[in-house]
Symmetry: D2
């Protein structure tokens, strides 16, 4: 999970937080927020959750099996992965371990999705059609100054997800019910470009009816219903300038690509004064010339451009792209614009979140935070959560915050283990309910479709709100 | 060994530098310079001048009449104008005095040329066809911190030019020879935009075969033959940016035109590092916003862009214009580009200059500088001198340098008066020779046409020399 | 008339420009140049050279021995080194070969000078006091895009220098004359910081009376007498900025070191408009931040600052240093300024250069350029040549220019070999004359001391010429 | 009143809005806000107001007298002033009219306070010691593109304030009660530098126990209790750069002051990326050079620097001042920093505001807005409201918003007149209560002293919250 920055949310009704962060957004979204409130109310979730989260021996068996797998095999695997951290796109050892376990438990594993060598898709051999349950597992470590480390406990996601998937697969097998289970290994969550978007475009999530994932957390929480992200919508963009080299003594025979990049930074600095203050634009110069006595003929600026919503973000992107084109024009250089990464608002569904939260509590997760978090999709790109309904599980698994050596250490002790087991059980239980209750599946679908349509409305409203000033011709 | 760039360093042998200004120019012009040398040699000017600058009673009479007019009337008028300085485009009193004198002596005066209210054209009433002799007179004063002043002695140009013109007109009248004389009053020499270009375009110099002018000088001099300017070729350009206003609290609702201008200055600063060092680009911000709590929606940058030759100057202009367009693009503003002034290399003809110099000496000019000055046209724009052959007269008229209160004071004393009289006599004598010696006219024309054709060749050579680097697409 | 700034324009008369590089320099140096002319004239060099460059059997024997060593052993060694290029500070294989040869021929070799692991000093075992002859040899290759290569033929310098040194050592041995010979291995000529300055400060050139060196050349040349450099005086300066890191979402908790560097570049761009046009200032950004979502807390700009003379260079350095301090002040960061390299005007002595040139011709160097080059010291820093009289030998050794693959290829063929042999003979001959003619040594010393004193005078004159404007307090 | 931008306030309890705008401020102020809640609760204002806003014949007489003065004389004067708008510092006609009226009604008027020629202090002749009631009146018009206009209805403030003051003076006279009344004419509310700060420093508010003022409004409102401002805390700062002039051809002989200003703008642009987003910094270039062919030796940037609280504002000011000093250092120029204007958070007291609001309703003001506005002092500088307890009256006087031609037009019609009369009555009534109820005066004083002490606490808390990052020395 990327660094979570507190959002000031607009509270509409108890239990539902909406993530409209800026005055303009709040204003534009007023109608959508009201409709969202009505939608959520119409689902009558307290009653639905109460109806499911009750004594149900078959579900209990599945959850118990997941716990058993964790305790006998998978906590040990989680510890092993924690101790052998691998950074994104290089998690070869990690996926070997996960794939071996899945194969051992009746899954067919395909390693590699498109260009992603450490992605995989594992389908249970005896899958029997719809509904299809998807389990996302991540396994990349963070890049630390002392080498890779599992400061975000991705090492436990594979074991947690596999415990639930195998328990469900065994239940499918035993009952001969219709239904399928798929485990999807998604690499490099902590890096750009986002692997999940490539996998979405490659069809890796095709046909899946619900997606679940677990993640480490300093408290047991769930998101409110709605649209949102942890840390603004993001465009990752690389601006590569080319010029012409020349000896320093005759600079007029060259064109200075580094001046192009510096102009771009100056342009971005000037943009800041004329855009809404919630934006964040920051860059580095990843290539800035080779030798001071040669006119640099190549230079690269790498930027993250963020805004609370994607509509105004697009306006800012245009401005930054224009600043780059202007930099090339002013310096006689050329520029290539490469939008290598995109993070967007995701959807979060209370129908899934509230039941999952109830199960986390039922299966012993502690440090409960009753107030829901602001909405944000279960995946860091947001875009997968717009394509497939789903939910993340966040049992308390550490006393420290994200991206710390302490969180890594907690993965190896009781605090982590207890939370991972709760995650696995709650995940198995929710999947079992989804598998066996068609009316619950319909409810989830209704919420998902409702959000989809409200999201379109929301974007339309924002487009109207962000009027660009008109500029007269200079006299 | 590091890349060896030729350094002209401490060397022993004696020598005299004679060359184009920049290495590239010198290189490109080598052939033209050689041909120019051949052209000049072929004119055999020492012999021509010796043949004319000899005892010639009718010419002596004309010169004597010019001296008489100066001493009896026109030095007094010069003093009067010196004491009543008027800045460019506002020389109403000055032209009243000049026009009155010309009318009194048989000239028809038309005041106003195009939009120029203080320009005039005065044709002698009894003009009799070709050849047509043109006398340019200027009369604007300098803008001083204490008000207008004649620190460049333009106050004397009208009297000097009229002395020569009237003397010639009377000679024409007496002799009934074919020929015409025209006095052209050109305002605002010290200001932009250059009035003479407007007058050239309005046809004020049409049909004139030779143009003469006098100017104050700290020494008696003449230019060498060739192309050149006093102070580089110049483009005066105004860049006007428009944006959209907004209160400081909501700057995103506006677009900042001042940021546009500042970007342009930054762009120009960056350009300096990648152009040839002989360039001079400097600007001011003549409008920079109205109040700090309102986003400035209008701002203006005003630049002088200079280079020793007009070919590379055009490349620099493109770069600065591009920087302005880039500034608008980067800041979401619009820009208007107004090239309000242009000064270019002029032609100077030795056939006129050497004879004029001989007559200045003959008629008593002192402080003779035998070495010719660098070439430069007789008008400050250079462009008139490319259209009509001509020459400026520079007798010693002050012990101080240009644009000083001392030079103004000298205009009222013996040092100025003596020089003005010499100028008037030399001008009358040269015009008389031009009028009466068809073979001399042909020689001047040959030199003029020769320079014209060499100038075209020179520009072509420069175009080839100034190759732009090619920029590959960024990878 | 507009303010007249001297333009050197199209002029006719023929002539040869010989002068200091900038108008100010020329002006300031007028007196020094005159005195330099008198000094050189007083040496009566044509007569001196004619007296030495005559039949002299012992000198012929020494030169012949140098040729023999080249042909039998050292051309092969040169070829070997050419084929095994090593870049600066890493020339381990190369110095092994050179040191082995020198030891074999009676030299005591000390490898390593101060921190320079690939520098060496080799003294002949039977040295007998003054005069001490020093031979500089370089051996570093260029950094090419395809790896190191000997595009400057430094590979031959060791063999050439050793041929001369060994021939002289043998002559010393045979004759039992007083005198010493030292070979000094100077690494990394192509890189900064300049190794020779470290060696100078470490005393490696102490006690040496004359220094010689050979270098590849597209023609057989020698420098004129005087002060100069190939490519301006240079300061290499690294500006390292530190700030404070912070997540992109809370940039106010950090300070951006990259903005510090960008400010410095902007500052330098603005400086260009207010300094003399002969300057060259260019930089790269060698460290520009690590990740776009973290405020960069470290960034580095690396500049070469050049000017034709060191006096005004110091003023420019101050300005750039001030721009760096200003950048830190404006961005709340800190800056460290590291002047890692300095190249300065060197001395070139006609007493050595003219005799060396005569011997190059005598021993068969071809492609003779009779006109002397501009002055520049025999070492690239200039500073060694101010400490010890000396000269470089430049026989024609390639048909290509410096820093090319063609020049490397020529080192292995007849064109290179012929030139190297000529260099070795001429070097041996000149050293022999220096060793055996006390009156010649005295003459060299007189020229050297004369230049030293004129150089001090020259610097004083420049200091007076470069007046800084005084700035009033703002009202 | 300056352009009011909606603040998002933190609501604590019904009826009390607090203006802590930023997350940091809210966090730092948590304790202060809680104590403020307790303070306000302890005042038991609903009961106090109910006790005063009841049948009270003497108060009714005073209010009725104010109404009578308005209807018979002062609405006509208001109309007259509306029709003769004068901009700040030039309101000579306006103060003549006001002073004449006050003299006519027994006031001694002193025109001019310090350097302020259109300020005045009018004391009732028969003042009898404490308590002293102060009435602030403003009268400056706005600068419109078509000339001055009363788009903020300051034209009515004098009449409203004088109606209340004269009614009170007459009551004092009749009753022979102890007490004094003073009318203070404060010019140029719409301009910088703020005249009220000069008057505060000159002692014009010395000895006054309560200050009242009226202002136009699109609704009948009153502020919540607490600290705040309409539009952030503001520093108005002028940065004047001086350099050295030089002709464009020799820029090195000058130093460019305009480059200094441009550097400052670039510096400010770069600062934006590293400060909290609620800041607003904007500038204009009020002097940007005289002629493009002369190096500008003087240039001026004029900035408004704003932040929601004055503690972080001071940090930003330091940064901008440092950017200015850096700009001077980098360009070799000098800078003078002139902080010509300061606006700060003011105090608003519910004890006064709630009673005034009750009286506005009682005396017929319409368009009542029941929810209190965010807090802000009764004067635009904020600083006077920290020195003397007071309140502004805002009856509905226009259907248009501030600074519009429509608001000016409404001043002349029933909508304006009705509101002005209500303002006058409510003001007179409140002043009468203050005069005659010592326990109410004590209550107001208690709230004022309480706020003062909480404000000090608040500033201390903010100082702790805004930690500056520490910057290590560059390695």
């Amino acid at each position: 999970m990327k660094n979570r920055i507190c959002k000031l949310a607009l509270m509409i009704a108890a239990g539902i937080a909406h993530a409209q962060e800026t005055p303009t957004e709040r204003d534009a979204a007023r109608d959508v927020v009201r409709k969202m409130g009505e939608l959520e109310k119409s689902l009558d979730l307290p009653k639905v959750v109460a109806g499911l989260d009750t004594a149900n021996p078959p579900r209990e068996q599945v959850a118990a099996r997941a716990r058993e797998l964790m305790q006998t095999e998978l906590l040990a695997l989680a510890d092993d992965l924690t101790k052998h951290p691998e950074i994104g796109f290089e998690e070869f050892r990690s996926i070997d371990k996960l794939a071996a376990y899945l194969k051992q438990h009746g899954f067919e594993v395909t390693i590699g999705v498109g260009k992603l060598k450490t992605a995989f898709v594992a389908k249970y051999k005896n899958n029997r059609g719809a509904p299809t349950l998807g389990v996302i597992v991540e396994y990349d470590a963070l890049r630390g100054t002392k080498g890779p480390f599992h400061g975000d406990q991705h090492s436990a996601q594979g074991p947690v997800g596999m415990a639930a998937a195998v328990a469900i697969a065994e239940a499918l097998e035993k009952s001969k019910m219709p239904g399928s289970v798929v485990v999807i290994g998604t690499p490099a969550e902590e890096m750009m470009p986002p692997a999940k978007i490539d996998m979405l475009e490659a069809g890796a999530f095709q046909g899946i009816d619900v997606l679940v994932r677990s993640h480490s957390s300093p408290a047991t929480t769930r998101p409110a219903a709605g649209f949102g992200s942890c840390c603004l919508n993001i465009d990752g963009v690389k601006y590569t300038f080319s010029g012409a080299p020349s000896h320093q003594m005759t600079p007029w025979a060259g064109r200075n690509a580094l001046e192009g990049v510096i102009h771009l930074f100056n342009g971005v600095d000037a943009i800041r004064g004329n855009i809404r203050p919630e934006a964040r634009i920051q860059g580095i110069i990843s290539e800035g010339g080779a030798a001071p006595n040669v006119v640099p003929d190549r230079a690269v600026g790498d930027f993250y451009i963020r805004y609370p919503d994607e509509v105004y973000l697009a306006q800012i992107r245009d401005m930054v792209d224009n600043a780059a084109k202007a930099a090339a024009l002013a310096t006689g250089t050329k520029v290539k614009i490469d939008n290598y990464g995109r993070d967007r608002d995701g959807f979060s569904l209370a129908s899934l979140a509230e039941l999952g939260f109830a199960y986390l509590k039922r299966y012993g997760a502690d440090q409960i935070k009753e107030e829901p978090d602001t909405p944000s999709g279960y995946d860091e790109t947001g875009l997968v959560s717009r394509a497939v309904p789903g939910i993340g599980f966040s049992a308390h698994t550490s006393n420290a915050t994200y991206h710390t050596y302490e969180m890594e250490a907690d993965a190896l002790t009781e605090v982590g283990h207890k939370g991972f087991v709760a995650d696995a059980q709650a995940m198995a239980a929710l999947l079992y309910d989804f598998l066996t209750h068609p009316e619950y599946r319909a409810l989830v679908k209704r919420e998902f479709e409702g959000q989809k349509s409200l999201f379109d409305e929301y974007l339309e409203a924002l487009k109207k709100a962000y009027v660009k000033p008109s500029i007269p011709d200079p006299r």
